[in-house]
């Protein structure tokens, strides 16, 4: 049942680092995080790994395994061949702190920039009435465990550091969609989605959806519907034509 697996784990910090080779015991039913814990206990006690629930519910142990953004606790060793080298690196979109731990503060900064839920005036607690059909869409987005793998894989910021300023990333564009589809929210974030949070930078290449461990259809259910709502507001050619003509006249 057990075998000796070959691991390459990135070790280092912001000043530099390299992939370190390990040979380590792997047992039946284990996930990559189990093996990293074994490395900590037996070979590398100071190997930095961020983790928490080890059940795919908290979204702490995000990293990249063989180049793909994944949760360490939800990647079973059985998907690899016994002689396959498993390479584990930190997420490559965020600044590294140490080993597999990255500084994900970008995400918390973006979270603060999205206007919060705004309840309707005059509705007391306990008086909220919403149909299941009305909350279903936002509930899907609220399954998000904030592992930030979608933020990590999104090429808009992964490949272009300079876009971090102007792009909230799939997680927080989805948060906007969630609030816009909330049946009782009264704020308007449609224009801001485009102007301040960078919705237009998304080119719907769906990597966020591909990596989501919760299986949320981020692109189809959140980002594209938001693009359509922006189009309602902003890119209706007839409205645009009218506006252009009136501007010419001024």
């Amino acid at each position: 049942m057990s075998y000796t697996g070959q691991f390459r784990v990135w070790r280092g910090d912001a000043d530099g680092g390299a992939l370190a080779d390990f040979r380590v015991e792997v047992n039946e039913g284990e996930v990559v995080l189990d093996v990293l814990h074994r490395l900590q206990a037996t070979q590398a006690p100071d190997l930095a790994v961020r983790w928490n629930c080890k059940a795919g519910k908290c979204g702490s142990c995000s990293a990249e395994i063989n180049g793909k953004p994944r949760l360490l606790c939800m990647t079973r060793m059985s998907v690899f061949e016994h002689d396959e080298v498993v390479t584990v690196t930190p997420m490559r979109t965020f600044p590294v702190i140490r080993d597999l731990v990255t500084d994900v503060s970008y995400n918390y900064t973006k979270a603060r920039e999205i206007p919060s839920f705004t309840p309707p005036a005059g509705l007391a607690p306990g008086e909220y009435r919403m149909g299941q059909a009305d909350v279903g869409r936002s509930q899907e987005f609220r399954k998000c465990i904030e592992c930030f793998l979608c933020q990590d894989t999104c090429h808009v910021v992964r490949d272009h550091e300079e876009n971090k300023e102007s792009f909230a990333g799939p997680r927080f564009l989805m948060r906007i969609a969630e609030l816009e589809m909330h049946p009782l929210d009264v704020a308007d974030r449609v224009s801001a989605a485009q102007d301040e949070h960078g919705l237009g930078r998304c080119n719907i290449t769906k990597c966020c959806t591909d990596v989501c461990p919760e299986g949320i259809k981020i692109t189809d259910n959140a980002l594209i519907p938001m693009k359509e709502r922006v189009a309602d507001r902003r890119y209706d050619p007839l409205v645009w034509l009218g506006r252009t003509i009136s501007r010419r006249r001024d």
Partner: protein, 650 residues
């Protein structure tokens, strides 16, 4: 220590789960400068793991529900050991706390008429749990997290600084509380990221650090659950109560080994799943204890009818309180009727359509598919007991959450009393909200009424800092150093084997001996590497707390010579009414010559405060007689042994 980072706040909340965040919201809304310290990233606390729901007698699904029924259920579930005032406040205030979440943006599952839907759970008379599929805890923590952000946005609009009044210190661990003249003055902690120390000056500290499960090998708890709040409170002079009561959730995963202990929500049974042994028998019908006789279905037919018609049928014994179900599973396995991997079967596949299972229990489906390669819509799950919750905790005033130490408050799992000897499922999330808010309020009132703020003294900072950095110091020449991971693994195995579900005097005494050894060995732990994000160091510090708390659990368990709720003594199998009115208090006397790393804990019995008469009158006296001694029932209006009027249970 001149270069230590310093921060000054009115209220310091330690822990960013449901209770901590709710406390912080309350303190901040009262205009206090509030800091939240969380061991993990913001929004990752153990509350996310809660699945089934949040109990609140809103009466949306069954309008017969009321706070009185909820109160009775809670007291019954805790075998009448609960702090009745807490149970009362909890039952009365839970609906308001849930509705309040909606104003923060929470989206619970709905009833047909658009109200919050509620589901059945073990020990609750009516469908009472507000829920979102099987990820209610995630909804709760995200909602509170987003409420914190909303408050920060208000501050930003006003001051231009998001953190002007409310700041989250993420990946920051408090290692010691600082006091002056016995009152809270602040706390010392370290940043995980850099390993740098930081000092908080704050006259009020709210502990909301959760539980102690990481001292056990098979547990549903995350790594953070190292009993930090319990241990910090002990070292600061507060008392713990009821530490012998540890809840083993009946249904944790048992296979594969690497996921052993991960929770399988009670919602599976609430929605129709049943427990079966290796012979395919629904064994729970054989395990209805005397105190619950007559309240549960006696045949499979009646139990199945109950799902559709709850007025005319009694509920299935699969939904007995958790302690009963965990013991039953334990017995089935011990007597050779278990599943191949040492559990029993939890079957929902044969009772519900696959699409319905996926809709109602999406994360369970996902969890088994991903981690165990089991399709729960086609085959039964293998489940067994897993360490889930500690009923015991910091002894606090029910109304304000304040401990014996002025300025030290506690809420949530790390506070004790609310759940008695056994917590009902769903009562944890409501506990967090009700008492999180009360602790925040208590802290706000305390700070407002404070004449002079206690001052953090440099000598105390130095001592706490030295203790925090001690694991880097090499051992004395000739002494072999210890590995923190090895020590932790030994502690977990020992606690699982000796202080688990079924306990004996000899095992408990052995556990205390082993804890003594481990305490000595902890002195020789040396961590490799430097202070920057060093998990070995973090574990070495957490071990201090785990060892203290484990001692409180084992010593309390040794003293209580009866079986009740989350404490089962093989050598004292029955309920003993003489133990009902007694509470075991753990404290840390801190005398000269005491071990500074892991100070000794002493446990002493004390009397519980008798229940207020109007609350006592909510129960049928015949039921109370099963738990109470005769003289204690003198105050019951029905008098003692006066027939048995219907107690109002369904």
């Amino acid at each position: 220590m001149t270069d230590t980072e310093r921060h000054e706040y009115d209220v310091l909340v330690i822990g960013a789960g449901g209770a901590g965040l709710r406390a912080a919201i309350e303190a901040a809304e009262h205009g206090l400068r509030t800091a939240i310290v969380c061991k993990s990233l913001f929004g990752k606390a153990h509350t996310v793991m809660a699945e089934g729901g949040c109990a609140a007698a809103m009466g949306n699904v069954n309008e017969n529900d009321s706070w009185q029924v909820h109160f009775r259920d809670t007291m019954r579930g805790g075998k009448f050991l609960n702090n009745w005032r807490m149970a009362e406040l909890h039952a009365k205030e839970a609906p308001d706390r849930v509705w309040e979440l909606e104003t923060y943006g929470a989206l619970f599952d709905r009833t047909k008429d658009g109200r919050i839907s509620q589901r059945h759970f073990g020990g609750h008379s009516y469908a009472r749990l507000a829920h979102v599929g099987d990820r209610t805890g995630l909804e709760l923590i995200r909602t509170l997290q987003q409420r914190i952000v909303a408050l920060q946005q208000e501050d930003y609009a006003e001051t231009g600084d998001y953190e002007a009044r409310l700041r989250v210190f993420a990946e920051c661990t408090v290692t010691e509380l600082l006091t002056e003249g016995g009152a809270i003055a602040g706390a010392l902690g370290y940043w995980r990221e850099s390993g740098r120390l930081l000092v908080f000056s704050a006259p009020a500290v709210v502990l909301a650090t959760g539980g102690i499960g990481k001292s056990f090998q098979v547990t549903s708890n995350s790594w953070e659950y190292t009993g930090d709040g319990h241990a910090l409170a002990l070292r600061a002079g507060a008392e713990l109560i009821d530490m012998e009561f540890v809840q083993f959730h009946p249904t944790g995963m048992v296979w594969p080994p690497s996921v052993k202990g991960i929770l399988v929500t009670e919602g599976v049974r609430g929605d129709g799943g049943v427990l079966k042994n290796a012979d395919g028998k629904r064994f729970m019908f054989d395990y209805v204890p005397a105190v619950f006789k007559g309240q549960y279905a006696e045949s499979e037919e009646e139990a199945d009818r109950w799902y559709a018609d709850q007025e005319n049928n009694r509920r299935t014994p699969d939904l007995l309180p958790r302690d009963e179900v965990a013991r039953a599973i334990n017995t089935e396995v011990k007597e050779g009727r278990g599943s191949p991997h040492g559990g029993v079967y939890l079957d929902i596949a044969s009772r519900m359509k696959p699409e319905e299972i996926k809709r109602r229990l999406p994360s369970m489906y996902h969890q088994f598919k991903e981690l165990a390669d089991v399709d729960i819509t086609a085959e039964p799950m293998e489940v067994g007991p897993t360490c889930h919750y500690v009923m015991g905790g910091i002894h606090v005033d029910p109304d304000t959450g304040q401990s014996r130490v002025p300025g030290l408050f506690a809420a949530g799992e790390c506070a004790g009393g609310m759940h008695g000897s056994n917590r009902l499922g769903g009562n944890s999330l409501s506990d967090l909200l009700v008492f999180g808010r009360r602790a925040g309020l208590g802290a706000a009132d305390y700070v407002a009424g404070l004449g002079r703020r206690p001052v953090v003294r440099d000598a105390e900072i130095d001592a706490a800092a030295e203790m925090t950095l001690a694991p880097f110091a090499p051992t004395a020449p000739g002494v072999a150093s210890e590995n923190p991971y090895t020590l932790h693994a030994e502690l977990q195995r020992m606690m699982n084997d000796l202080v688990g579900i079924i306990r004996t005097e000899a095992e408990m005494a052995a556990a205390l001996d082993r804890l003594g050894e481990l305490r000595e060995r902890l002195h020789d732990v040396v961590v490799e590497g430097h202070r920057q994000y060093n998990p070995g160091w973090h574990l070495a510090l957490d071990l201090r707390n785990m060892l203290m708390v484990s001692e409180a659990v084992a010593a309390s368990a040794l003293m209580r010579t009866e079986s009740r709720g989350g404490h089962t003594r093989e050598d004292h199998p029955g309920l003993d009414p003489q133990w009902r009115h007694r509470v075991l208090r753990s404290r840390c006397p801190r005398g000269p010559g005491d071990d500074a790393v892991v100070p000794r804990v002493v446990v002493e019995p004390a009397e519980r405060v008798p229940m207020r008469e109007d609350l006592l009158a909510l129960f049928d006296v015949a039921e109370l007689e099963k738990y109470y001694t005769t003289p204690e029932l003198a105050g019951h209006p029905a008098g003692h042994s006066a027939g048995s009027p219907q107690g109002g249970t369904a």
